[in-house]
């Protein structure tokens, strides 16, 4: 029996020791992260400190409680001839263990309150970004005081082949996007967060930001990154099938690099405008369309156009039917179904390319094509 008690002791202490060794010494199996990251912001650091303080208080109390319990288990055993005492109440003791925890809680509440107030201090941001959650991607829009807002979608970049294990997984498996959010370092950035369809939650642990994206309503939160780097996060609120496949990547760069990036974005926008005026060959459109398909359509329509959440594209009546009707579905979606309106998500070149691709891939040999100007005209009615 005594052997068993020691085993029990070891087992019960095991997790606690594991936690202490892992958290305090920063040691874990194969260097895997075992604790919260203080991250790149002051708020994140305060949250981390708070987390550690409370963890320590809990550990100490826990060791005390378990210590008493295991002392009883070892020394007050019937098999050792222990005879039960007869006490069963003590008002003094009971008052003490009501009051003391209460005081400890007050001690915890003080730093918790001040940290919370800081998290809620949203004003005086230098940059405002509208973050919109979509099933299953994020849209970022930089609110610009003078001129057009820069806006783009950020999709998962990990290919299906890695997800389905036919290719080795890359270093940032599931945490990589085609176009990351870029923000300047040492700048208070305010995020306005909303949802397009269901509730999502925008979370970047190292920027200490997590806020729900609620359709119809707007939420706000902020960050101030003190160091440059690439910070990765994920959607934190169950939002349907691909909830696990809508990561967030934030590049925190120097203010100069941010300025350059902004400039490049404007040039890119201009280039797209120029491309929109061009006429492409079928091959060019199909080539570009394949890449667009992979990030915009594949999740629902399948890698081979076989369908899934969405209808099949291979041999479908739409993709092998009237080209204008096909384009209309792409631009306006099908209200009441999972088919979104992509007119606002893809630029005219990409829209033309992907429609052309769908009509000339997966065995759909239509041979016809859509030019960017057709998309433009369709949108303008």
């Amino acid at each position: 029996m005594c052997f068993e008690a020691k085993r029990l002791l070891k087992l019960a202490l095991g997790p606690v020791l594991m936690l202490i060794s892992a958290v305090v010494l920063g040691y874990g199996p194969e260097e895997a992260q075992v604790n919260m990251a203080p991250g790149a912001t002051e708020v994140g650091e305060r949250i981390y400190d708070l987390h550690m303080i409370i963890l320590w208080i809990c550990t100490v109390i826990g060791l005390g409680v378990f210590g008493v319990m295991f002392y009883s288990i070892i020394y007050h055993r019937k098999s050792k001839g222990a005879v039960a005492a007869h006490f069963h109440e003590s008002t003094k003791v009971e008052i003490a263990w009501t009051v003391v925890p209460f005081l400890i809680l007050i001690g915890m509440a003080v730093p918790a309150t001040s940290t919370l107030l800081e998290v809620y201090d949203n004003d005086d941001a230098e940059l405002d970004i509208l973050v919109t959650g979509y099933q299953w991607k994020w849209k970022y829009e930089y609110i610009n005081e003078n001129g057009e807002n820069i806006s783009f979608f950020s999709n998962l970049r990990t290919p299906q082949s890695e997800i389905h294990n036919s290719e080795p997984k890359g270093e940032f498996y599931l945490l990589e996007v085609d176009e990351p959010l870029v923000i300047p370092v040492n700048t208070k950035v305010r995020f306005l967060i909303t949802g397009n369809d269901v509730i999502h939650s925008w979370w970047v642990p190292e920027l200490a930001v997590k806020r729900d994206a609620i359709p119809g309503f707007i939420n706000e939160t902020w960050t101030l990154a003190r160091e440059e780097g690439v910070f990765r996060g994920q959607c934190a609120e169950l939002c349907g099938k691909d909830h696990g496949f809508m990561p967030i990547v934030v590049n925190v760069v120097s203010k100069e690099a941010y300025g350059e990036w902004l400039g490049a974005k404007q040039v890119e926008a201009a280039a797209i405008k120029e491309l929109m005026a061009q006429t492409f060959t079928l091959e060019q459109l199909v080539e570009r369309g394949e890449a667009v398909y992979a990030r915009a359509c594949l999740a629902c329509h399948g890698a081979n156009g076989e369908g899934g959440v969405g209808k099949p594209i291979a041999g479908s009546a739409i993709a092998t039917g009237d080209i204008g009707a096909h384009l209309d579905v792409g631009i306006n979606g099908v209200p009441g179904t999972a088919m979104q309106a992509f007119g606002g998500q893809l630029n005219d070149v990409d829209m033309a390319a992907v429609i052309t691709y769908q009509r000339n891939a997966f065995g759909n040999n239509m041979g016809d094509m859509v030019q960017p100007i057709d998309v433009y005209n369709h949108k303008k009615g």
């Binding site: 029990l8 087992l11 997790p15 936690l19 199996p29 194969e30 895997a32 075992v34 604790n35 919260m36 305060r46 987390h51 409370i54 109390i61 826990g62 409680v65 378990f66 009883s72 288990i73 007050h76 222990a82 039960a84 006490f87 069963h88 109440e89 003590s90 009971e94 263990w97 925890p101 209460f102 809680l105 915890m108 509440a109 940290t115 919370l116 800081e118 998290v119 809620y120 099933q135 997800i163 997984k169 498996y173 599931l174 269901v198 939650s201 200490a208 997590k210 359709p215 119809g216 309503f217 939420n219 959607c235 934190a236 169950l238 939002c239 349907g240 691909d242 909830h243 696990g244 496949f245």
Partner: protein
């Protein structure tokens, strides 16, 4: 049983039409165990998919159906009915009553359950699949964006809510009206007390859940906009209504477990429970506080800061009565005369795991830190520590403790202890690493994850398989006991056991306390 003037009826009719609290208790227990196996099977699918990064076994849409059904079936099909079953068996025997107060309703409240869960499980085979919005089914994912199965799901929730309400009314009516002479409220065993309070919670909040799903039904089919901003509603309202039910619900799950532990620890410490009065008051204060803390599940929805502070402080307060309970149990063991039969081992396991879960609960209560914990595996680890430890460990303890009384046969102690050790070790391997991946940033309810979470997830899956397998041993042990266990005839069974249920013969006759006992 044969020597009694009228025993049970024969054949299937006995079970269909029975109004005997022991028969109904038995049915509840078997039903909940089968649901436990089904919900556990879904958990095994989840853990198998999460064994490695990448999609191996199931597609994401099916994965979401698994997490949803696992939660719903464990909460509503396994845990709640199991404690109702225990209440049916024990409450009349503990308060010296011949049966439950409303035996016919008792029969109905059980028999509407199996068809309901059959319906819920059958949604898996419907077009569009089973509900997949999580056991918390937040709108609009569960309304506008749900498949056709949502209607059947809502119907199931209505019926099982009805069953719980009927069961609770029965328990309250029994405790308030059928106590033996001399059995004052403050003499009732703690299991009866915790169930009485639980039953009041159920009567208060199950209708709220019914209201929430009714609003969903109206949004889906009758064009209202309770949860859609388009018509002037608000999806966040759903979360408030749901958690107004949901937080008391988690105490509904844990309070009867407190009762079980408060019966068993004194028995194997051979010492009276320490601080009986404070246990009762602590239970009542936990129940009261459960009504004013619901929004701590929603710290990230963007509440005004005053709301965040209120719910943070109120939640932290729960640590006080919960602490009182843990201290009382430990002090009961202090200077007792302890022995470690299987029920006691499970209670000690409960104490350890529940205390860890309580601490992580306190951490989660701190709103600014919760911004980092919310919706991660840290939360998953937390509620499995409290719920599995609370419900399953205490339920196992209860079965080992009272089974010999019920069937007059002793379980196999070696097998029981083996069950304890395997499940205790398996549980910790499964759920402790989930704290780490949660803190490192792994969101919950995802079918696939980034590579840095791989090691701990594999460990967690292995632990889950061990834990799952240990329940098969439990099932075997229970059946072996009922069929061929060593007969016991001592009314007390355990030398330290106290209470009216240990004064009647072993095995418990089909009818007990037809003349009320005198309680001093």
């Amino acid at each position: 049983m044969g020597d009694h003037h009228h025993g049970p009826a024969k054949g299937l009719g006995r079970w269909l039409f029975t109004t005997n609290h022991k028969d109904i208790g038995t049915m509840y227990l078997w039903f909940s165990f089968s649901m436990f196996i089904l919900g556990g099977f879904f958990a095994m699918i989840i853990r198998a998919e999460l064994f490695q990064p990448g999609l191996q076994l199931v597609e994401p849409a099916f994965f979401n159906q698994m997490t949803t059904l696992h939660g719903l079936i464990m909460v509503f099909g396994a845990i709640m009915p199991s404690f109702v079953g225990l209440a049916n068996w024990l409450i009349p025997m503990m308060i010296g009553a011949p049966d439950m107060a409303l035996p016919r309703m008792n029969n109905w409240s059980f028999w509407i359950l199996p068809p309901t869960f059959l319906l819920l499980a059958s949604t898996l085979f419907m077009e569009g699949g089973a509900p997949a919005a999580g056991w918390t089914f937040y709108a609009p994912l569960s309304t506008t964006y749900a498949g056709p199965s949502v209607t059947f799901f809502i119907f199931s929730i209505h019926v099982l809510g009805l069953s719980s309400i009927m069961g609770s009314i029965n328990i309250i009516a029994t405790v308030m009206n059928m106590r033996a002479p001399g059995m004052t409220y403050m003499k009732m065993p703690l299991f009866v007390w915790t169930w009485l309070i639980t039953a009041f919670l159920l009567v208060a909040v199950m209708p709220v859940l019914a209201g929430a799903v009714t609003m969903m039904l109206m949004d889906v089919h009758f064009g209202t906009s309770f949860f859609s901003a388009a018509g002037g509603g608000d999806p966040v309202l759903f979360q408030h209504v749901f958690w107004f039910f949901g937080h008391p619900e988690v105490y509904i799950i844990i309070l009867p477990a407190f009762g079980v532990v408060s019966q068993i620890i004194p028995a194997f410490s051979r010492k009276q429970l320490f601080g009986y009065d404070s246990m009762v008051y602590a239970t009542a204060s936990i129940a009261f506080l459960s009504f004013i803390v619901w929004a701590h599940h929603m710290f990230t929805v963007g509440m005004p800061v005053a709301g965040e502070l209120f719910f943070m402080y109120a939640t932290m307060l729960i640590a006080v009565p919960t602490g009182v309970k843990v201290f009382n149990w430990v002090t009961t063991m202090w200077r007792g005369s302890l022995s470690f039969e299987t029920p006691m081992l499970f209670c000690i396991g409960f104490l350890i795991l529940f205390t860890i879960g309580g601490f992580t609960g306190l951490m989660l209560a701190i709103a600014p830190v919760d911004f980092q914990y919310h919706d991660t595996y840290f939360v998953v680890a937390h509620f499995h520590y409290v719920m599995v430890a609370g419900a399953v460990f205490s339920m196992s303890a209860a079965i080992y403790f009272w089974l010999p009384k019920w069937c007059g046969r002793m379980y196999n102690e070696t097998m029981g202890k083996t069950h304890f050790w395997i499940s205790f070790i398996g549980f910790n391997i499964a759920f402790f690493p989930q704290h780490f991946v949660g803190l490192a940033g792994m969101p919950r309810r995802i079918p696939d994850y980034a590579l840095q979470f791989a090691d701990f997830n594999m460990m967690s899956s292995i632990g889950a398989f061990i834990y799952g397998l240990s329940q098969i041993l439990f099932l075997y042990n229970v059946i072996a006991t009922i069929v061929a266990g060593k007969p016991v005839s001592d009314p007390k069974v355990w030398d330290g056991a106290e209470g009216l249920e240990w004064t009647i013969p072993t095995p418990a006759p089909y009818h007990t306390f037809e003349t009320p006992p005198a309680v001093k």
